[in-house]
């Protein structure tokens, strides 16, 4: 069965510090991984997907099939990064998503 685990419910870092949000998955096939973000009073939106291999708002994420992980990283956190972050795993050609429990990131000034 597909499963996504985000071990940290809450993560707090200072502005300018590096940030890493952890995501581990369980899937027997070829995974497609996503990070979604929800800023305060905004709708859930796509941040990045692993097949794009791009950096969005300074965030990157590398798929590590050996460790079954897709951690989200940013070298220098900014206050506007404070939000709820969800890791998601796609199956059936990425039509259906399984989400992790979410991590609430707070960037302190």
């Amino acid at each position: 069965a597909q499963r996504v685990t985000q071990p940290e419910k809450l993560l707090s870092v200072f502005k300018g510090a590096p940030v890493e949000l952890k995501c581990n998955y369980s899937y027997s096939g070829s995974p497609e991984l996503f990070w979604y973000v929800q800023y305060s009073r905004q709708r859930l939106q796509l941040l990045l997907r692993h097949i794009s291999r791009e950096s969005i708002k300074g965030f990157t994420a590398d798929l590590n099939k050996g460790e079954t992980s897709f951690h989200l990283k940013k070298p220098f956190a900014q206050e506007e990064d404070s939000a709820m972050y969800y890791c998601a795993l796609g199956d059936q050609g990425a039509q259906k998503l399984v989400f992790g429990q979410g991590t609430r990131l707070t960037i302190n000034p």
């Binding site: 996504v4 985000q6 419910k9 996503f34 709708r43 859930l44 939106q45 796509l46 997907r49 969800y86 998601a88 050609g93 990425a94 039509q95 259906k96 998503l97 399984v98 989400f99 992790g100 429990q101 979410g102």
Partner: protein, 111 residues
């Protein structure tokens, strides 16, 4: 820009009522989804649809049904609302093999 519109931002209903949550998308997307979002549990898929009049159960379909009579509209139905269905409900749509786009959500309270 993709627009996924959920008919209500807030809704209060009573136990035992039949509740309809409506979702409309304006980008001719084939796929539509209903999730519920609960603290500590993330998003859980209730039902999804790949085409008109087509539906498939997600991970937590019990107590819910759906209707997709037109491509742009996907309705979630709570047949007999119960207090444990108090939650935030999110609708999403997507093209084939493309990322999902979400609505603003409906916060439903069952009293």
């Amino acid at each position: 820009d993709v627009k996924v519109t959920q008919s209500s931002r807030y809704l209060v209903k009573r136990t035992g009522e039949k509740v309809f949550l409506e979702c409309v998308q304006d980008m001719d997307h084939e796929n539509m989804f209903w999730y519920r979002q609960d603290p500590g549990l993330g998003l859980r898929l209730i039902y999804f649809s790949y085409d008109v009049k087509m539906k498939e159960k997600g991970d937590i379909p019990e107590g819910y049904s759906v209707s997709r009579e037109k491509k742009e509209r996907f309705s979630l139905i709570l047949e007999s609302a119960s207090t444990n269905q108090t939650s935030m409900y999110l609708c999403a749509s997507s093209l084939w093999r493309q990322p999902q786009h979400f609505g603003d959500g409906t916060r439903l309270s069952i009293l």
